[in-house]
Amino acid sequence: MSQEFELPAELTIYSVMQTRDALLAYADQARSASDAPLELSARDVTQVDAAGLQLLAALANTPLSWTLVHSSDVFTEACQTMGLAHWLPAASGEAEVTA
């Protein structure tokens, strides 16, 4: 059974410090529970900037693997613009992101 981490509505420079702390806490907890990849959801994201995307890149650069389970339109557009479309859930299934 997996818990999703809901990325905040505002995933920008203004919220990156808090989001990072929350993500780290979530990662610790989830890892101790199981070895399955972390599940992140961007369903609620309405604002995102490069700093926000960088946070996820940092997560990808840890030994943990994560997948994006849901994405909002805003988040999808941002990933595509930034060249990070490989993070997005593929039409046919979930994309798994590893370091």
Binding site: M17, L23, Q54, A57, A58, T62, A78, T81, G83
Partner: protein, 687 residues
Amino acid sequence: MSSADSDADFIAQAMPAFISEAVEQTEAIESLLLQLEENPSERELLDSLFRCAHTVKGSAGIFGLSKVVEFTHHVETLLDQMRDGVTALTPELSTLLLQCNDQIKFLVATANNEGADTPEERDTRAALVAQLRAVTEGSGTASQSVAPVASAVAPSAGAGWCIQAIFGPELFRNGMDALSIARYLGGMGTVRAMRAHTERVPALTQMDAETCYLGFAMELDTQASRADIEGAFSFVMDDCQLDVQPLGLPLAPAPEPEPESSVTAATLLPTQAVAAPENAISVPSKPTKTRDAGVVDEGRYIRVQADRLDAVINLLGELVIAGAGASLLARQKQQTELTEATLHMNRLIEEVRNGTLGLRMVPVGETFSRFRRVVRDTASTLGKEVNFEIIGGDAELDKSMVEKIADPLMHLVRNSLDHGLEPPDERMAAGKNRVGTLKLIAQHETGAILIRIEDDGRGINRERVLQRAWSRGLVEPGVTPSDDAINMLIFEPGFSTAEQVTNLSGRGVGMDVVRRNIESLRGSLKLHSIPGVGLQVDIRLPLTLAIIDSFMVAVGKTKFVLPLEAVVEVIEAADDKVKVDELGRHCLELRGAVLPTVRLRQLYALESSDPDRVSVVVVHSHEGKFGIEVEALLGQQQTVIKPLGRLFKAIRGISGTSILGNGEVALILDTNALARLTSSEAETVAV
């Protein structure tokens, strides 16, 4: 007030700032062009050149200076072609660009003054434009390309761009967003491919979320020009290493970001490096000096009006005096706590003073670089080949001193070019290299700066100098002074002839003016000449003119001040230790050597109670060590220098006055002038 009026007001107020900035840009352009002559394929130089011209054009546009805009536009077109590799730099093109830059300087300087644009200038301008267009419109295809991209890539028009950007750590903190830049670029055309570079992002556990570690590489199909693409990054220039290449090349794997200086195309796209062997110069090596030499540093400075800074420094001078006064009072009251408090305060004042004086310091290299152009043109006119080196351009000097020393230095440089360095044939016959060397060296010494002009030419022809000195009555015919003295004769007024005067800024600057200017800056001149080998001119200048660390002495009621760095030691001497010779000259024996001395009481006919014990302050000057006989030693202080009033300027041995804490005036001794007085017959200088 109507909006047209307020516009006109704005323009009037902002115009001086525009002119001053545009002047900086044109100076940078000249410096870059001269560097480019040595490194014609240096990409960074071409980019910087284009940016400078573009900036001038843009700002001029805001001020409605259409002549500047139109002319600079043609220059910009050529520079754009050069950095795209369409046109290669040749010596003729370099000269053309230098002349165009001169014209831009003229247009900027006369921006406010329509009348200054004469028909001759207009003709010159038209001729330059014609030459520029001949080059830009004549070369349609890439002939001998010097661009680092080897494959036959079509010039920029229309195809698209490969844009690689590595963002700096402060990007987010400076309010910028890489995502919006990417989005904006995407809006200019169709994105063929896009890759984010996240390799540098540390792990979540270690990263600083507000620091930017990102980069990206984008292939964009667009009609936009390179300038448009670079325009998208204009707000992040300080936080970004950008590389824009014409499309047609595959996206390279993630590049290694360079730690400090910018990156040439070749290092970002290692695949191209293999295909461009003839450009081996720029391929593996980083551009070294380009970043610091002459490129206008955007964004890290605050523009300050010089007179406001001077006003602050003046106040600081008064503060130093007031602090000294407070210290004096505290000591008189003999209250320890108060004395300590004032000591602490004076220490802080000293720090503030040093810091503020430091604000006026500028690197001499900026001024020296202006000489490159003169050396280049003069050498070429005289048919001489010269390698001009500037060493120690980072050394800093007070801005006003730099301005005052520029013309004398220029004259000395021209002197080396005119008289010192020989034509190539003569050099070869003498067994020297065909190309002469001229070096301008700046170096810090304690409390002073040394500026040296060194050439490997003929040196001074002492025979000829002596003959001329005899014939002009500067030296008694038949008398042969020492070699050093003969060398210095070239600075005597009346020695140089009219042809030897350099025309600078409309004033004649001869060797005598050179020496006078240097001495008025409390500096000194020394020559070392070896016939047939070369000449070295050493100029020593104090670092600043405003405040001096001093050693105070007294004779009777009169107080004198010596520059602290000149003082070597102090000796107590019984009156009989000082010997007087038949000419009235004083001297003292010091550790087996004879030390000439000067007795201030006698020199200035001062009243005193004629004590038996006399103190001798041993100082060093540019003529060597000597002693100054005084009666009382009053210790070290910081004193503010006030210039001598006109009435006192003629007194030999005094270079200024200083105001003490109690309001008294002390006279500042000029050690070099005093040194000369020790060797002449004893006399009294009227005070």
